[in-house]
């Protein structure tokens, strides 16, 4: 009797703790999104009320869409994120395959060299990166960001993917060799398709920091036509600081893509973390 009673109490305590924390987590997002649909008066009069027929207004969104070039920013963020992920995955998988598959002189050292970047943040090299980008004429282009994010993402990608590559059956690859497949074909036709789940994990890990980064867009690509969504919303909000409707709408518009990506990829992300891909 007592243990059942105690268990119930524990379960209740666990749920109330979790619900409380979930509320703390969701509250700011909720407040911002509901208020973005209200008139200015209603925002201040009763910030916690849901918008109703009287207080509903899209004025903030109108300002945002008229004044800010959010579609362009969104497109820039999309290009940077997708192209960087593509390079991280393809180059990372190639390097991981070389390190996991072949025994050659310097294999260990090459792995160690690439692993250095996992712990050392690339931001510390910003001064010289800017100089490099100025010299090569890449400042204020999306390529500057793509190169930086690719370099930043490669170390962890190589590390995770080579762990997975080691598990691919040797017989499969040897069978391919007996059939006369070149090493490139073995990589592309046999190994790469087996890496899909691991590559999805790597992609999801890299996607969030690239999409949300403010530092490198601010320094390497601040020009209007190459602004990313994160930088664009930062500048926009800074300019419209007193226009609460516009600020709240801009925040909501910036939250939506992140939430959308999360809803699509959360299973992959959580499975990736909990399967011990990062250890």
């Amino acid at each position: 009797m007592t243990t059942i009673y105690k268990n119930r109490l524990n379960t209740l305590a666990a749920h109330s703790g979790l619900i409380l924390y979930t509320c703390i987590v969701l509250f700011p997002v909720f407040v911002v999104v509901i208020n973005s649909f209200k008139t200015r008066k209603a925002i201040f009069r009763d910030p916690l009320a849901l918008p109703n027929s009287e207080s509903f207004s899209l004025i903030g969104y109108e300002t945002v869409l008229k004044q800010g070039d959010f579609f362009l920013y969104f497109q820039n963020s999309m290009i940077v994120t997708v192209v960087s992920l593509f390079f991280i995955l393809i180059f990372g998988a190639m390097a991981a395959f070389a390190l996991a598959e072949y025994r050659f002189k310097g294999n260990f050292l090459t792995g160690l060299y690439l692993a250095l970047g996992i712990m050392i943040p690339i931001r510390l090299g910003t001064v010289a990166i800017l100089e490099l980008m100025v010299q090569t004429g890449l400042v204020n282009t999306l390529w500057a960001l793509i190169l930086v994010y690719t370099a930043q993402g490669l170390p962890l990608a190589v590390f995770i993917l080579s762990e997975f590559m080691k598990q691919v059956s040797q017989d499969l690859k040897d069978a391919g060799r007996v059939d006369g497949l070149s090493e490139y074909r073995i990589f592309y036709r046999l190994v790469l398709p087996l890496m899909r789940p691991a590559m999805a994990t790597v992609a999801v890990f890299n996607m969030i920091p690239i999409w949300n980064d403010l530092w490198f867009p601010l320094i390497l690509a601040p020009a209007e036509e190459v602004k990313t969504l994160t930088l664009g919303s930062q500048v926009f909000i800074g300019q419209f600081v007193t226009d609460w409707n516009a600020v709240l709408s801009a925040l909501s518009l910036a939250i939506l893509p992140a939430l959308g990506l999360y809803v699509i990829f959360s299973r992959q992300l959580i499975r990736g973390i909990t399967s011990g891909a990062v250890k």
């Binding site: 910030p47 690439l114 910003t126 001064v127 609460w244 959360s266 990062v278």
Partner: protein
Amino acid sequence: MPKFKKQSKTRWHIGVFLAPAIFIYTAVMIYPLFNTLRLALFTKVDQTRLYVGLENFQTLFGDPIWSDQFWNALGNNLWFFMIHMLVQNPIGIALAAILSHPTLRFSSFYRTAIFIPTMLSFVIVGFAWKLILSPIWGIAPGLLDFVGLKSLYAPWLGKEAYALTTLSLISVWQFVGIPMMLIYAALLSIPDEILEAAEVDGITGFSAFWKIKLPLILPSIGIISILTFVANFNAFDLIYAAQGALAGPNFSTDILGTFMYRTFFGFQLQLGDPHMGSAIASAMFAIILIGVCFYLFGVQSRMRRYQF
């Protein structure tokens, strides 16, 4: 056997597989990192670059104008890190411990929800909290009034004494999901036999957590500590988004990242100086390196890892 035959001739494909990754990584990451360390030894006089040895560091640590700012930023950064270690990681561990309970319902819903802020950019998080804590809007005072604690309210982000702690807690709010997930994974990997054996000996509930689970997840706690350390000593975005490059009020929220940004790019009256910026980056590099080495050689190598 085919592997042995290939051993004799040059295996170009290894180079082809490695080249793109090594090239981009070296050119865009490693070379600039070392070049930044090198640039810290120069200064600019009349548009020409002049080698000055350690003079920049002498200015940084010797000149009171610079050294006060540096120690202020470092001190703030340490406080920022302490709050993460004392609040973020314990909350993360507690949430993970609750979530890992095998019979808990809706646990994947909770996990998904608690991880949402981690997905949001610093800009969103910084501004959203700025609005919520703002005395003009009145959500925070209103909520405190609701629980009868209105007297506790202050414009936290605007007061020198509270601003840094408030921002640290906002950052904690954003990133609790990461330690939670890593610890959750570690807790799940503890085999049932161990817990059952403990149960037979009468160790359950809280004491099972303290005596059995916690020692087993210590390596994961070590990993989240070093991840927190590197992320915190490299932080910039949240402070910049919420308080601007001047890290107000009166530099009370200035951390090494914002200090380096201001020095590198200049602000208001001060001109940007890439060489002093490099010197600060080098100091940050040293701090992070010390932290990582301490972890690798002092903590990780002494930790016992259990193989299940």
